[in-house]
């Protein structure tokens, strides 16, 4: 996601004063990146930002609208899941539209695109030939980029391990299914190998500065090392794990032989 285009969209949305957050054209002017800009980016200092809000109610209005939109969107998701929960649990086949297949594919997609590419790869310049520090997460707040990445990494690790929300109890997971299939590889089981590679990726992330903009400016190679550590897991998830599960990464149905 390009932060600059978010700001551009947001500024025009703000200027118009009449906005419709349900409109697809305004999707890029909302969510956490927009909140980051509204709270930390509309002026140089905290004081100047507060002054902006007190001087003109359009900022307060927009901020309120943003937050409300985030709350209602989240409520919709929660409601949908409450209704869909039983259907989801009941779908136990191995087809492209079955729950485990979709969830596994979505998890990998998130890990690869949302976590690896958006939070680390793109700002570190992996896909562009040079760093794009304007694309770090929480670009305006700055000192929380690492915290957000770690949070995402922890969530991925917990999902893989099947750790519950309480952080203690655990249930069936990708890891336990892999262990059940007993795919022995190179002495250690694949399930343990992935868990340990996830942990080493987290270790690499911990070496980074809280502020990714300054990390990219001072020593981008650390960003790239983290990227490589995160990437190492992508290979294991996408190739080895999916092979063991016999889940297809694509939804193109064509005959085989």
């Amino acid at each position: 996601m390009c932060i600059r285009s978010i700001n551009h969209g947001l500024i025009t949305t703000l200027r118009r004063e009449a906005y419709d957050l349900e409109n697809a054209n305004n999707y890029s002017s909302q969510g956490f990146p927009a909140l980051d800009y509204m709270l930390h980016g509309i002026a140089e200092s905290d004081m100047a930002i507060i002054n902006k809000y007190t001087a003109n109610t359009k900022y307060t209005n927009y901020l309120t609208a943003l937050v409300n939109k985030m709350v209602t969107s989240t409520d919709v998701v929660i409601n949908d899941w409450t209704n869909y929960k039983e259907t989801f649990i009941g779908s136990t086949d191995n087809t492209a539209s079955s729950s485990v297949n979709k969830l596994t594919n979505d998890f990998i997609y998130y890990y690869e695109k949302g976590l690896r590419a958006n939070k680390v790869g793109i700002p570190a310049g992996v896909f562009s030939g040079g760093p794009l520090k304007g694309n770090v997460e929480a670009f305006y707040k700055k000192d929380v980029s690492k915290e957000l990445l770690l949070e995402a990494m922890d969530a991925a690790i917990k999902f893989y391990n099947g750790t519950s929300f309480d952080g203690i109890s655990s249930g069936p997971s990708l890891k336990s299914y892999l262990a059940h299939l007993n795919s022995t590889k190179d002495g250690s089981t694949l399930s343990a190998l992935i868990a340990s590679k996830l942990d080493s990726a987290k270790t690499q992330i911990n070496f980074l500065s809280n502020n990714f903009v300054s990390q990219i400016e001072s020593d981008n190679s650390k960003m790239l090392t983290s990227y490589d550590a995160i990437q190492a897991v992508v290979v294991l998830l996408k190739v080895d794990m999916l092979q063991s599960f016999n889940i297809n990464v694509d939804y193109t149905d064509a005959d085989g032989d």
Binding site: F245, T252, D253
Partner: protein, 429 residues
Amino acid sequence: MINSEYFNEKSSSAPLAVFRIGFGLLMCYSIIRFWLKGWIETLYIQPKFHFSYYGFEWVKPLGEYTYILFMICGLSAFLVALGLKYRLSIFLFFLSFTYIELMDKTTYLNHYYFISILSFLMLFIPANATFSLDNLNQERSYSMVPKWTIDSLKILLSIVYIYSGLAKLNSDWLFKAMPLKIWLPSKFDLPFIGENLLQQEWVHYAMSWGGMFYDLSIPFLLLYRPTRMFGFLLVVFFHLFTKVLFPIGMFPYIMIMGSLIFFEAEFHFKILNFIKKFLSSISLLKKVLIKYKSHVVDIYLIKKENFVIALVSLFFIIQFLFPLRYLLYPGELFWTEEGYRFSWRVMLMEKKGYSVFKIMDKKSGTFFYVNNEDFLTPFQEKQMSFQPDFLLEYAHYLGDSFKDKGHENVQVFVDSYVALNGRLSQTLY
């Protein structure tokens, strides 16, 4: 040898008629099925780039006209079934079908290759000798054909079985039960056997060895009269069972239909009579069929038979040798895949890959990674990721496209990770 006794032997033309009708109808249905599933669009029209076979780079999809190509293919298959202008129809079918298969090797399947070479062989076989509309036009039909024409179909089917059986004589298949050990447990959602039998290791081994013995013995079971019926029941069971287990499309039906050719003429008369009865129930066709009965000539004579026999012999020599060409390439076949295709290696590997391409400026050293989705469909990306010739072709394509976009001193690198039959993924390049 060409004048030897064997080539003078004659045989009833009925098996050829059944084979022709079965083949034509199945092919026509295959084309319609392919069309209705939207695969012409997703496999041939949507992709920006197509993976070509060596020497056939000029064969490309024809844009919207690709639909016309499929129409020709399906229609000619139907005409083959009717036996109308048979020689021209089977020629059109062979050309259009083969062209379709050559457009993009992403979709390569052994059974498509089988259809191509089978339809080529059928060019030289008088499958319209009896029970065809050509008989009405020419006002004659033939009760006998040269025996070798029927035998050649048996030989081709036997080649498929024997070579795929021989290909199963490898350590992964026999001693690790791979890849069945990966595939079968994932079919846990099958009724009755999914959650218990298919999860057992001994079942994986039993099915690996059983499949190997099946492939190697089925031609002999079908050739030998006392075991023929047993062999055929095995064919039906095996192919329907694999159809339940794997998404193999029309292949099982083609093989079941094909193995009918091993049966005696009487059996085929029964099938033809059944079809005749069915058609006679349509009153309009009744008159035509009465007319049809009245002009039976004895023997179908093939024009320039010696030349045709020489050509078909050459075809079979190639068929015998081509699957063995991998012996001439260095390296491990399952990794290099040089000589893997067109060799009846069916369901031998579970191979998955992940390949990342890096575009580097040779002078400045700056680089970036390619997003494969920008160039390939998910299916193409999947196939590209583990097949070496795909990787190379794609790398050249990437180099060319980035040069066209104005990048300079372009170098293309790939990191390719491939997992084969449950081994931990390793770097291919």
